[in-house]
Symmetry: C2
Subunit: 334 residues, 2 copies
């Protein structure tokens, strides 16, 4: 499965994709390219980095709502409403913007970026797409009475706790998980795609390991971990933002799917009814290609229709003429 940039009728550039589709028992049921390709999980790991909040009691301790938890799992668009919600979360846990160590960056939403530039809005740490995740990490530190200072350092108990949780859900031993510094300064984790997909499939059951009850029973038995799933399903508008792919894919099939993008062309998804986890990596890290690949995989797995804008992206030249398009070629192998 490639994502191709066509100019006229000819392929100009090609993005190689690797895909693993895994069921709740960790069996590979479909793939493209190399399902054991190792790369960094980046922001697609956020649901699992938020998991200690519900498992360790921090979410209950601070009265965190589904809104708060969705933001902890988000790569949000820095929309004014989203930023204000993160500010409220920080207040709720007794912290302030000054405790955040994520660097500021241009908002991931072009519309928001343009608006802020026009209005001269000064971008601070709370505007980082990762500010919800960082607020969650501060909450975890507070709850455990760990120092909040240095919470982003790889050897801080917060980061060690996240690594342990990533290990539990992916089934990868800690010593086999590569750890490096993410774009926002906290730990990020290198894993085979198959392990990432396994974690998402297990998320649908609300339990790490090979628990036997199916996703459809999860809301009845309600394991604590399932609060992460419910938060994301209830608030697709917070997981990314208006007009962004994760939000669009989740809104297209409410309650049926969670999708979570990461930087450098990595993507995770959970298909609720099917109980399947998906992990995708565009080998060269191309973000727009990863979006088209995820929409194509979801469609092939039965979640159709997908938003038209995610099936192909026209490319234009400097005169505004359409001169080609980015489009998926090929599909999954059983």
């Amino acid at each position: 499965m490639h994502v191709e940039l066509r100019r006229g009728g000819l392929v100009e550039s090609r993005h190689v994709s690797h895909v693993a589709v895994v069921d709740g028992e960790g069996h590979l049921i479909a793939r493209a390219g190399d399902p054991d390709f190792v790369t960094f999980w980046r922001s697609a790991a956020k649901p699992f980095q938020a998991m200690p909040l519900v498992l360790d009691g921090a979410a209950d301790h601070f009265g965190m709502t589904a809104v708060d938890l969705a933001l902890c799992c988000a790569s949000h668009s820095s929309e004014p409403g989203q930023v204000n919600l993160v500010r409220e979360l920080l207040q709720k846990i007794g912290c302030s913007e000054r405790d955040l160590t994520c660097g500021p960056h241009t908002p991931l939403s072009e519309a928001v970026a343009k608006d802020y530039q026009t209005r001269g809005v000064r971008l601070t740490a709370v505007y980082s797409n990762c500010s919800g995740k960082h607020a969650g990490m501060l909450a975890l530190a507070r709850h455990h009475d760990w120092p909040t200072e240095g919470y982003a350092r790889l050897d801080h108990p917060v980061q060690r706790r996240c690594l342990a949780e990533v290990s539990r859900w992916t089934g990868a031993p800690e010593r086999e998980i590569g750890v490096a510094v993410d774009g926002c300064g906290v730990a990020c984790f290198a894993l085979p795609l198959r392990s990432m997909a396994t974690a998402y499939a297990r998320l649908g059951k609300g339990e790490a390991g090979n628990a036997k009850h199916a996703a459809t029973d999860a809301s009845r038995s309600s394991p604590p971990a399932f609060r992460i799933v419910e938060a994301m399903l209830r608030h697709p508008e917070l997981v990314a933002g208006d007009g962004r792919p994760c939000t669009a894919m989740m809104r297209a099939h409410p309650g049926r799917v969670i999708t979570k993008v990461g930087a450098e062309g990595v993507y995770g998804a959970l298909l609720m009814r099917e109980g399947l986890g998906v992990a995708i990596k565009i080998e060269d890290g191309h973000g727009p290609a990863s979006v088209l690949a995820m929409a194509a995989v979801l469609r092939e797995l039965g979640l159709e229709p997908q938003p038209d804008s995610l099936l192909a992206t026209p490319t234009r030249n400097s005169r505004g003429e359409v001169v080609g398009e980015l489009r998926v070629n090929g599909g999954l192998v059983q």
Copy 2:
């Protein structure tokens, strides 16, 4: 030969490169990946799109200097001085900015782009990195008494003439060359890398086809085509611009090498003393990777040192910390 993005000590993303190194007789003497990979030549074709100016007499007719010809071959940085030189060229050929049909875009030089944004400079067609090429095409139309209107259309005599010239230098029959619309609206050409490299190698001899005299004799015999080579060698500061890779690579070895970047990770080069042509394509179209690949290939072919900044590019997170680097892994195969 891959260009790898490393995070910590681990590879996060990988850019596959294809390279053809060809001598003046069209023999492949080294490669990486698939030397017959077909893609669009984009702006790396500019020296050959400028060629009709010297061969058909337009350059003499209008008194075009080495400065003018270098700009016709350039993907310039839209520097104020470069833009003014294109304006002077337009005046010289009896045209004006209004005749240019290239769309405006953000300058390729970040420093220039920032400066113009700060100063509120309105970007018009003459600021396009391709404005020199377009001015040259207008000159060709004027010289032949072809209509200047519609000079960018694929069926206009100017574009047909460029296709014929591309065919002559690459050795690829016209019917085997894919034609589509480039980023600036004119024709661009799909070819195997080996054919692109052949054209660059022949450029060093100043003659299309398999002429027998060596590159070192060219300045003595001075075939008309050699004026393109001399113009680019004399004005590396116009071929790209201050701080940009083509200019840096050419300045590092004055008179020894021509390098010409194209969009979507394509690159061409001519090694003067060695009489070798090089064509590179990063399969996924990644521009920064193509720069590192070209510097690595030039170094391997004996042009060392290369500028330090072109050997590896550090990547930083939103906090400004270095978290990884982009670097070439592997080399040419004989």
